[in-house]
């Protein structure tokens, strides 16, 4: 029975759950002994846990954290001959491969959706998060898209407090922004780099009685709560579905191939994404 461990600091984020579940499903088929380790946001602890796994001599390790930050652990694994896989982590020479969606493409989908819907003019509120590289790149793309429209003005670039999941604080922030911009039409759209702020903004807009102004909201990830909001046909109009399960399963496949003795050549394995609107939200 092969021993495989998944180490992540981001277990509390909904996406991670799906990776892990899909990974587990494949693992069960292969009869692996899977150990899921959550370090609750602590990146150095990821290194520590990898070191522990090396001492324990597991057969493969999967991480979902920026590999450049855990080089010490990756090196220890490499020295011990244990293969390490990235599951939406980032490309790195010390990884066998990194399985992920294309973050630039996702942000381009929603930001162009917004720009098209508001016909290239008006005030936009952005919810971003720079501390987490995969989310940070989305902000970069959206900045570029909005910057390309001379009549789009970014009213505020908010970083919500995510320690509680992000919805409640985003909502409070949006409530304040709405209070500060009471004129109907003074806010045309809310672009969020992931779904939780979009949901918070939606609640704030509905609660303020301004859902009739046609403020366009987009998110990224298309988590179940977001899909429901989109399906309901309110202000929340679009999100992008990453195929989390696909990433998890593809990672497990990569592990299986390497355990079977195969060599994997591409340093990144992309799994396709999909724009979610009212039309396909309930699929």
């Amino acid at each position: 029975q092969a021993k495989v461990a998944i180490v992540t600091p981001y277990m509390a984020q909904p996406g991670t759950q799906f990776y892990v579940e899909a990974f587990q499903a494949v693992a069960d088929e292969n009869d692996w002994d899977v150990n899921v380790i959550d370090t609750a946001g602590d990146v150095a602890a990821v290194i520590s846990r990898i070191e522990d796994l090396v001492v324990q001599n597991v057969d493969a390790i999967v991480i979902n954290v920026d590999p450049t930050q855990v080089t010490a652990g990756l090196q220890a694994a490499k020295d011990a001959g244990i293969p390490v896989f990235g599951m939406d982590a980032g490309a790195d020479p010390l990884l066998v491969t990194n399985v992920t969606s294309n973050g630039y493409a996702m942000a381009a989908e929603t930001s162009t959706y917004v720009a098209d819907r508001i016909k290239g003019e008006g005030n936009v509120v952005m919810f971003v998060f720079e501390a987490f590289p995969p989310v940070q790149v989305r902000g970069v793309v959206a900045d570029a898209v909005f910057g390309n429209y001379p009549d789009i003005k970014v009213l505020d670039r908010v970083t919500p407090d995510v320690s509680d999941g992000g919805i409640a604080d985003s909502r409070a922030k949006m409530e304040a922004i709405l209070s500060a911009n009471p004129e109907p039409g003074s806010i045309k759209a809310v672009w969020a780099a992931w779904d939780q702020p979009a949901l918070g903004a939606l609640q704030a807009i509905e609660d303020a009685g301004r859902s009739g102004e046609g403020i366009v909201i987009t998110g990224i990830d298309a988590n179940p709560q977001a899909r429901e909001a989109i399906a309901a046909g309110g202000n929340f109009e679009a999100s992008v579905a990453q195929d989390f399960s696909g990433i998890g399963a593809a990672t497990a496949d990569a592990v299986a191939r390497v355990l079977a003795g195969e060599e994997i050549l591409q340093s990144v394995t992309y799994v396709p994404t999909k724009l979610i609107t009212k039309a396909n939200a309930t699929e």
Partner: protein, 319 residues
């Protein structure tokens, strides 16, 4: 002089209010905005009110955030399993009460320092929340609409400058909880005894106060309030995840401590805690309305608290 000493902090806070009102005359000092603030702070208010109870004895409870998360998860899971809302809410509150009683037992019967005991249970409750939920966020159709609607509802107060305003349900709960804690701490022998314990545990014991039992009860109440706060949170976001209450703990302790700077001998008082919570809420609300960059806002919040509290402390020359 004596005035400054006692009210210095309060004056600092009033100065902050005046500042925001001047900077944002059209939006900040409106009934609508203030009702928003009471709603935004209602969960913290309830948890901080519970925290005040143990802090009156000079103790802490670090587990309130995890207890709130756990209560939210438990209720959500029960509702997802088709149980009626009242049953889910009752069981979740019972979980909070039991968790608090466990804290109380560790502190008073076993004799573990509150800081260690509740740090350990903080970890445990959080782990339990993950275990029972499998780490997932429970949302969407799993949560009955009525549950989410509760947080969105309120009692209409009529028109105010042309805008319909209503007193949010969450604010009403917060006010009720404050009232109950106020009666408990200020009007009953129970509260008097807690204050005596906070002033001198040994003297209280030798004066015939059943310190162990009271400590147990106090921690149970704090756990109950934490669970209530967690349920309010879950209702507000119409979902539950195993970490959503974690921000509440430090803020609740901060609010109580901010309050202590306004009381005679630095003891916690429920009404002072209320001011503390509102100050935290107002700073967030006002600075966001001013479109202050969120990072700079953090720095400002810290600095403003130091200035407000420091103004009060500087008046208090030791000699």
């Amino acid at each position: 002089m004596v005035f400054i000493r006692r009210y210095g902090t309060l004056i600092g806070f009033v100065a902050i209010l005046v500042f925001f009102s001047v900077m944002l005359p059209a939006t900040f000092p409106t009934a609508r905005n203030w009702l928003n603030i009471t709603q935004q702070t209602s969960m913290l208010m309830v948890v901080a009110a519970g925290m005040t109870v143990v802090m009156v004895m000079g103790d802490f409870d670090l587990s309130v955030g995890s207890a709130a998360s756990l209560a939210g998860i438990v209720a959500a899971l029960m509702m997802a399993a088709g149980q009626p809302i009242w049953a889910a809410v009752s069981i979740a509150l019972a979980v909070g009460l039991l968790g608090g009683a466990f804290n109380g037992a560790m502190v008073s019967l076993v004799g573990i320092l509150p800081f260690i005991a509740t740090l350990a249970t903080m970890t445990m409750f959080s782990g339990l929340a993950f275990v029972v939920s499998g780490g997932k966020t429970i949302s969407g159709r799993a949560i009955p609409e009525d549950f989410g609607n509760f947080a969105r509802g309120g009692i209409p107060l009529g028109d105010w400058g042309g805008v319909a305003v209503s007193l949010p349900n969450l604010s009403i709960i917060a006010i009720l909880v404050i009232l109950v804690v106020w009666i408990l701490l200020e009007q009953t022998t129970f509260g008097r005894r807690l204050y005596a314990m906070g002033g001198n545990m040994e003297a209280a014991h030798l004066s015939g106060i059943a310190v162990k039992r009271l400590r147990l009860i106090a921690f149970s109440l704090t756990g109950l309030a934490a669970a209530a706060g967690g349920l309010m949170y879950a209702s507000r976001v119409a979902s539950a995840n195993p970490v959503q209450g974690s921000g509440l703990m430090l803020n609740a302790i901060a609010a109580v401590f901010l309050g202590t700077t306004m009381s005679r001998h630095g003891e916690p008082r429920i009404l002072a805690t209320v001011v503390g919570v509102i100050v935290l809420g107002v700073l967030d609300n006002g600075l966001t309305q001013l479109s202050v960059d969120s990072y700079i806002r953090q720095v400002l919040v810290g600095a403003l608290i130091l200035v407000a509290v420091g103004a009060g402390s500087l008046g208090q020359k030791r000699r």
